[in-house]
Amino acid sequence: MPRKNIDKRKKKTFVKKENLFKRKKYCKLCENAIGYVDYKDVNLLQGFLRERAKIVPRRISGACAIHQRQITNAVKRARQIALLPFTTD
């Protein structure tokens, strides 16, 4: 129990700071009601890649857990079939 309280306090301060200058993140795929992320949809997937073709983490992309999983799976498939690079040199 005491542990939980500490966690809550930490969260609170973090959120307050965040709210000063950051907008709340939301899952863009949920917004558009996308049920399945296809590995062939390269344009969509590229939006979730960084410059070096790494997958953008959830804390930055704001994607929900379900969609983030779909994105990672789709990106990994697209990499296998050379639609997306593993890395850029």
Binding site: K12, K16, C64, R79, L83, F86
Partner: protein, 135 residues
């Protein structure tokens, strides 16, 4: 009935005519030799590869969509592709599992959209709790 999807990459050295013949033979073989119930094989066009495969920087993509009840359809088809010299890469996925998951998720999202609007769609675990703490 299981639904599969296979993507094939063919090197750019293959001529257009050979490519068409290949598409034809694949769709026929899927039905006749490998025991697929339905098959839909399409050319997906020429694309630059994201990285070189066997020193090829571009390739033709072929997309095969097929349904089958037999267990050895995919293994037969893949072993055939592996033997073929005009295939540099292929990948097979199961679509029926994903179609089910897609339906489920879509239903969920539609429900959420009706009841709560955009606020509800931010289903970030713990996020809502943090907000209520602020008040």
């Amino acid at each position: 009935m299981k639904h599969y999807e296979t993507m094939i990459i063919v090197p750019p050295t293959v001529s257009e005519n050979d490519l068409d013949a290949m598409v034809q033979s694949i769709s026929e073989d899927l039905k006749n030799r490998h025991g697929a119930a339905e098959s839909n094989v399409q050319k997906w066009g020429k694309r630059n590869l994201a990285y070189p495969i066997q020193k090829f920087t571009e390739g033709y993509y072929i997309l095969c969509d097929y349904r089958s009840e037999k267990e050895n359809t995919v293994s037969d088809f893949e072993s055939r592709l592996r033997l073929s010299e005009t295939v540099i890469r292929f990948m097979t996925i199961r679509r029926d599992v994903e179609e089910k998951a897609e339906e489920r998720l879509k239903k969920k999202l539609m429900k959420r959209g009706k009841s709560g609007g955009s606020e509800e769609s931010v289903d970030f675990e713990g996020y809502a709790d943090e907000d209520s703490d602020l008040d």
